[in-house]
Every structure is written in C-alpha cells, then in structure tokens.
C-alpha cells in the first residue's frame, strides 16, 4: 500500500480522536487541572525553598507528567469500547499497526498540549528561574513523551475490556516506565546543571522511544487479532 495512504489513515484516526476530545472539552481540561492538583500536592508535601525546587524540578515534572498521562490514556479506547467503535476501525483496510499509530498520535497530541501548558506553569508555581532552558526542557519532555505514550496506548489497548481497567493501567505503566523516568529526570538535571551527564541519558530516551514504537504496533496487532 502506498505510504501516503497509510499516513492519511494514521492522520484520520488521530484527528477523529483529537476533534472528539476538543468537542467534549473533557479530557484536555481535566488533565490540566489534575496536573495542577498534583503540583499542589507536591508543594504541600515537600514545601521546597528555591534551591531545593531547582533540584527537585526534573522529578516533580516527570512524576506529574506520568500521573497526568494516565488520565488521558484511560480514555484513549473509551469511546471505541462504549459504542463498538473499535470493530468499525478494525474493518478499515489498513494494517493494524496503522490504527495503532493513529490512536498513538491522537494521544500524543493531547499529552504534548498539556505538557506545553504545564511546564511554564510549574516554573511559575515553584518560582524556579530557568526560563532560558525552557526550549531544551520542552525538548527532553517531548522526547520522553514519544515512548511514554507509545507504551501507554498499547497498555490501554491491553486493558480496555478489563474490569477496573484504570487501576490496572497504572499498575502496569508505572513500573515499566522506570527507565524512561530515570533517563528523563537525569537528562533534565543535566540541562539545569552542566556538571552532570546529559548525552547518555538523551541516548537512553531515544532507545526507549525506538524500542517501544517498534514493538507496540506489532503487539497491538496481536491484541486485536480475530
């Protein structure tokens, strides 16, 4: 099948999800306010001064992103499940991997949008003055989000028909993303403090992304096979 058709199919699936979310206005705003709630929890729990806040910032950001992404992931297949939409999608004459990339892209766009709002908000709320590093921080966040949403959408597909699926999703996603968290937090720490290692953590993030984005479409095919 020509590449163009596959790309168009990916884009259609993703766009359907993004437009659906936008019209309902539910996911985006609840993710954002959930993220703010998590930041409040961290602030109250640790009450960091300025110096501590700078040191804690990478961990705070990644933990918030991870928890927030769970909310978005819980809804990736919700509409498909409720209205039998998945059967309809599976009828499309494209490889199953393309459907996966469509669902992934939709979730990625949503998660990135939340992150773009979350990052400056965190710097403001925690009084951390690293505005010069903002583009680089966004870059690290985006790099990690590729793999995070790749693995997350796959696990969401895996748990979609399960009982208490959101608990299960969290149970599976949190430990499996340990390498991503380590690499993401260390890379951000490396950006904020030039004496720390940066390159090898960026490489680990790329490895994680490549492994999961290569594995997930294939695994998705097995999950939805007839």
């Amino acid at each position: 099948m020509p590449l163009l058709i596959l790309l168009r199919a990916t884009y259609r699936v993703a766009w359907k999800d993004v437009v659906g979310d936008w019209r309902r206005r539910a996911t985006l705003s609840s993710m954002l306010f959930f993220a703010i709630a998590v930041l409040v929890v961290f602030q109250v729990a640790f009450d960091p001064d300025r110096q501590e806040a700078t040191r804690l910032l990478p961990g705070l950001l990644w933990a918030t992103v991870l928890f927030t992404s769970l909310m978005g992931l819980g809804r990736v297949f919700q509409a498909e499940e409720e209205d039998g939409g998945l059967e309809g999608l599976l009828l499309a004459s494209v490889p199953r991997g393309v459907l996966f990339f469509g669902k992934w892209l939709g979730n990625l766009l949503l998660t990135v949008l939340v992150e773009l709002l979350l990052l400056p908000l965190t710097l403001v709320l925690f009084n951390v003055d690293v505005w010069g590093q903002l583009p680089a921080l966004i870059g690290v966040l985006l790099l990690g989000t590729l793999g995070l949403t790749g693995l997350g959408v796959l696990l969401a597909a895996m748990t979609q028909t399960a009982r208490s699926r959101e608990t299960l999703l969290a149970l599976l996603l949190l430990p499996l993303t340990a390498p991503l968290l380590i690499a993401g937090v260390q890379a951000m720490a490396g950006l904020l403090d030039p004496s720390l290692e940066l390159g090898s953590w960026m490489r680990l993030l790329v490895i994680f992304d490549v492994v999961y984005l290569a594995l997930a479409p294939w695994a998705f095919g097995w999950l939805v096979a007839e």
Partner: protein, 231 residues
C-alpha cells in the same frame, strides 16, 4: 497434559529427596568466616533468584509460542509459570532482605539487581491481575502473552538504566561478598540446593499447570450446564 500427569509423582518424590539432601548440606556446612551463619541464607537466596529469572524466561517463551501457535496448552503453561515465578521472586526478595540487614546494615538498596527484581515481581502480579480482570479467555491469553513479552524487553532496559544511573552518580553501593569467588566448602550445598530448586520449580509448574487445566475444564462444564438449564 497427560505427560504431566505421568511425571508428577516421580518429580515430587525426587524434589523432596533433593531438598532433604540440600538442606542437610546447608545446615552441616561450616559457617563463613566473614558472614557467619548468615551465609546459609544465600543457599536459598541464590537458587531462588535463578529460578525467578528462569521462570520469567519460561513465561516469555511459552507466551511467544502461544501467539505463534495459538494452542491453549502454552497459555496454561504461561499461567502456571507466572504463579511459580511470583513465588520464587517473592522468596528471592524476602531472603535477600533478611540477609541484607546483618550484612549491609539495610533491608533494601536501590541497586540495579534489586530494582529489576522488584519490577519483575510487580510484572508477575500484573500478569495475574490482568488475567483475572479479563473475562474472555482468548483475550486474556493474548493480553498476558503480549504483556509478558513487553516485560521481557523492559527488564534488561531497567537493569542497565539503573546500572548507569548508579555508576554515574556514585560507585556501586555494595561490591562486597558477592564479587568474591565461591570456593571449597561453600560449593557443595550451593550446588545441591540449585539442583533441588530446579526440581522444585519443575514440580510446582507441573502441579500448577494441572490445577489450571482442571479448573478451566470445570469452568467449561459449568458453563455448558448453565446453558442447558436456561434452555
């Protein structure tokens, strides 16, 4: 399954004998000059750690075979392997903690091996939870098989990322007794216990597989009976 029924009794008898011999060697071996009697914990800890890892390999293998061949036998073996593996992983972590307290002065350290074994325990638990949460048996079989394979890819990444994390930040936390060669009097009990644990793993796997197969058969009969009543 019939093959499993045949080997069950000899395997269980052999396991009990091997465990008896192993434990006798463990209890009569001299205490270590550095670690004292605590070294005896390692004769349980090391074999069970190897069996925990072997169980995960086994689960991944039969999961891949299930996805390829789609025979229920592989799924039954996977379900049984998860239960056995979870037990060995738990014993590994518990015995390691008990050994760690007198030797390292701490129950726990976040080094690469401990972290990845802990994640392995969560994965075994996740595999069980996922299977229990899915009502459709075929879906449950596929989902757990895919998860097992994803976990198998993830575990080495976790291991090496923690190794890098720790070595870039601080020297390896504990390079103590583990690095020294195992010699002389320590070897016979360790070998005996390793053999005994391999047999134990096989015996548990056989027993659990038969239980899983029997339960599935019973569920199928029960469903059929209910359908007849409704008619």
């Amino acid at each position: 399954m019939r093959f499993l029924t045949k080997i069950q009794l000899p395997l269980v008898v052999l396991t009990i004998l091997a465990l008896g011999v192993g434990l006798w060697l463990v209890l009569t071996a001299p205490a270590d000059y550095q670690q004292g009697n605590a070294v005896r914990i390692l004769y349980v800890h090391v074999p069970s750690a190897k069996m925990a890892l072997l169980s995960y390999f086994f689960v991944t293998l039969v999961s891949a075979l299930y996805l390829w061949r789609r025979q229920e036998t592989y799924d039954i073996l996977a379900e049984a392997g998860v239960a056995v593996g979870a037990a060995f992983t738990f014993v590994t972590l518990a015995s390691g903690s008990i050994w760690g307290k007198p030797m390292w002065g701490a129950w726990w350290a976040w080094d690469a091996r401990l972290t990845s074994v802990l994640v392995m325990l969560i994965l075994f638990m996740g595999l069980m939870a996922l299977r229990n949460a899915l009502d459709d048996r075929i879906k449950a079989a596929r989902a757990t098989a895919v998860l097992a394979i994803i976990g198998a890819v993830d575990l080495p990444i976790i291991h090496y990322s923690v190794v890098w994390w720790r070595t870039l930040h601080q020297p390896p936390s504990f390079a103590g007794p583990a690095k020294q060669a195992i010699t002389g009097e320590l070897l016979p009990p360790l070998l005996a216990m390793s053999v005994a644990f391999v047999l134990l793993g096989a015996a548990l796997l056989v027993l659990k597989s038969r239980e899983v197969a029997a339960r599935r058969q019973w569920e199928a009969v029960e469903t059929e009976r209910l359908e007849q009543i409704h008619e």
